[in-house]
């Protein structure tokens, strides 16, 4: 197979999009300027919608025009939060199509946090109506749905940001650009290891006196209340753990390595919850970079053992273990690696009190323990008090105002999620699957 690099992807994507795809004119300038108040709507106020709302309520110059959720208690919850915290009274809707009908003309942006299978139709409809969209990942429960979103964004000329929020996380941006690219702290990264290990959770329940009427559930594609509350595990609605949790992290490998994978083998198990999608998935990717980096990724939903969630870049000179949780983020220098003092002086890395300093080795075949370093004290743009989704929303709203480009537009999100779709396919089939250049782009 011909080597396919990220540069090739950008080239191919540019061609596929008729040269328009990455044109900066499409990534900004929506008739707004810095500081303008934006009219926005929030579609879907479940767990994820609430997380996004928490961030939106802290951002200035937003006018909440509408909130929408098919579950009335959640819709009114959103309304009440908005009134309590910013003294605004958004209209409440059950059907997003009514939001489009009544407000599309005035809306500058919509934030969509509904179950995966609604992402594509909602996003396409809003884009078609001329509204910029921030949509949670996964783009869709199907690859076809994701493609439709990319095409709709291209056709409308509107902005579409996908919620891979690590792309706007100042710590991740610093780690990639400064530590890995400029400081080359890891040396040659021959292996990566990522995981999200989560303890057993019970199915979500609901108060019996707050059930959605059956005809409403049917109208929106749910067979019953139990499925509405636990859609993530069902084929045709969600994508399972590898899609819900894995998509965030698998995206980081391609981003940091500046390469796409060329093949994947994976194994999934459905023995615990007995649902449509696997409880636990383990994948091995080979990336198409000069070092042919091997990446192991696992998502486990039956144990929290093993140190939580992180993405680890393991080089011959050092290892960078990234996590959205700063407490889980680590940087280690190989004992026989080069001196890192110059990197500390340049402010690319920071010193920490090493817990490995006095570690003894038990066997002569064992390597000396690596030395622990960390992030420098100040990281540009990083505020530990900001919710982790806020920078990504700020990036989106900034793009709507023409202040910056999107950090995760539909084209790039599609390339990242194509990897997840194929990994899931490999875990279902048990076959080693190869990626083609065409897998990462959407043809017109």
């Amino acid at each position: 197979m011909k080597d396919f690099t990220r540069r090739d992807f950008l080239k191919t994507a540019g061609i596929a999009g008729g040269g328009l795809v990455l044109s900066s004119s499409l990534l900004r300038a929506q008739g707004k300027k810095a500081g303008d108040t934006l009219n926005i709507a929030l579609i879907g106020i479940g767990a994820e919608g609430e997380i996004l709302l928490n961030s939106l309520l802290k951002l200035p110059n937003l006018n909440f025009v509408a909130v929408c959720d098919i579950w009335k208690p959640r819709c009114t919850y959103g309304f009440r939060r908005i009134f309590r915290e910013v003294k605004q009274k958004p209209e409440q809707y059950e059907d997003y199509k009514d939001v489009i009908k009544n407000h599309a003309k005035d809306l500058d942006a919509v934030v969509i946090a509904t179950p995966d299978f609604w992402h594509s139709p909602m996003t396409c409809d809003f884009l078609e109506a001329g509204v910029n969209v921030y949509c949670e990942k996964m783009m869709s429960d199907t690859i076809e749905g994701a493609k439709k979103m990319v095409r709709a964004a291209r056709k409308s000329g509107k902005l579409l940001q996908i919620g891979h929020q690590r792309k706007s996380n100042p710590r991740y941006i610093f780690a990639r650009d400064k530590m890995l690219k400029e400081g080359k702290v890891c040396g040659r990264i021959m292996a990566c290891n990522g995981q999200w290990n989560r303890a057993v959770t019970k199915d979500l329940t609901w108060p019996k006196n707050q059930e959605i009427p059956e005809e409403t559930l049917k109208k929106y594609g749910y067979k019953d209340m139990a499925q509405f509350r636990n859609w993530r595990w069902d084929k045709g609605l969600g994508g399972g753990a590898i899609s819900d949790l894995g998509a965030h992290q698998i995206d980081v490998f391609a981003w940091f390595l500046d390469a796409n994978p060329k093949n994947v083998v994976a194994s999934g198990s459905k023995e615990y919850y007995k649902k449509d999608w696997s409880d636990n998935v383990m994948c091995i990717f080979e990336y198409d970079n000069p070092d042919k980096t091997q990446v192991f990724y696992q998502v486990l939903t039956t144990t929290s053992s093993g140190g939580g969630y992180f993405e680890s870049f393991m080089g011959d000179e050092g290892t960078l273990k990234m996590s959205e949780n700063p407490a889980l983020t680590k940087l280690f220098k190989e004992n026989n690696g080069p001196d890192w003092e110059p990197l500390v002086e340049k402010g690319l890395i920071g010193k920490v009190e090493s817990t490995n300093a006095d570690a003894k080795i038990a066997d002569s075949r064992e390597s000396k323990p690596p030395m622990e370093f960390g992030f420098p004290e100040k990281i540009p743009g990083y505020d530990p008090d900001k919710p982790i989704h806020m920078p990504h929303l700020e990036n989106f709203l900034g793009a709507v105002r023409g202040e910056n480009k999107l950090n995760c537009d539909a084209e790039h999100a599609y390339a990242a999620e194509a990897v997840v779709f194929k990994a899931r396919e490999a875990s279902e089939s048990g076959e080693k699957l190869a990626f083609q250049a065409s897998d990462f782009v959407v043809e017109d």
Binding site: P73, T76, R80, K87, P207, K208, Q210
Partner: protein, 204 residues
């Protein structure tokens, strides 16, 4: 019946203490956790917050209309369906006692069924003053049976069982003291002699 107000008061204290002890312990056998509908405190708080934020009362009422007036919560409650004569967990379950060679296994479950009712029954009887002497005697026998449970578990439970034996021993001392002072009892609903037994003692 002898008359000495000090002794009478001493007996009453013993009588009421033992009654409270038995009734309370018996009631705990009917206590457990169960889902119940309780007023939704969040609704009132939310409404107040909306009004404080500037919403009219009518608007606030509409805004919280979808919030239920009551919510289901697991609460501590009493009920026949929650009855457990012996603990459901820990070292003193029906299973543990049934497995002991020092206990007739066929009797453990019936004992567990009866225990809570017996404690409450004896406690109420003592409180009301019904056959007080006989009640005290039966209560003593009941505490001996409980003591036997601790004795046979002492090898496996260790000091906790020994403490339980001593603790029940204190109950026995109080019961015996009660029997000694029973002659000074007053305000009985039904004395033993009404039924014809312990006539001699009651007529001293």
């Amino acid at each position: 019946m002898k008359s000495n107000i000090t002794y009478t008061m001493a007996f009453w204290l013993i009588r009421f203490w033992l009654a409270a002890r038995a009734i309370g312990t018996g009631l705990t056998k009917f206590q457990g956790k169960a889902p119940a509908q309780v007023p939704n405190a969040e609704k009132a708080t939310e409404m107040q917050a909306l009004i404080e934020a500037g919403m009219s009362k009518q608007e606030a009422l509409e805004a919280v209309a979808d919030m239920p007036d009551t919510v289901e919560k697991v609460v501590d409650t009493l009920g026949f369906s929650l009855y457990h004569g012996l603990p459901e967990k820990g070292p003193m379950t029906v299973e543990t006692f049934s497995a002991s060679p020092l206990m007739p296994s066929f009797a453990v479950q019936p004992y567990a069924w009866v225990l809570g009712f017996a404690l409450i029954g004896l406690g109420v009887t003592l409180l009301l003053g019904i056959c007080t002497r006989l009640t005290l005697f039966l209560m003593g026998l009941l505490y001996i049976s409980l003591t036997w449970g601790f004795i046979i578990l002492e090898p496996s439970m260790g000091p906790a069982a020994a403490a339980g034996i001593a603790y029940l021993g204190v109950h026995m001392v109080i019961i015996v003291a009660g029997l000694f002072l029973a002659d000074y009892n007053k305000f009985e609903l039904l004395s033993c002699k009404k039924f014809g037994f312990c006539k001699c003692a009651c007529e001293k």
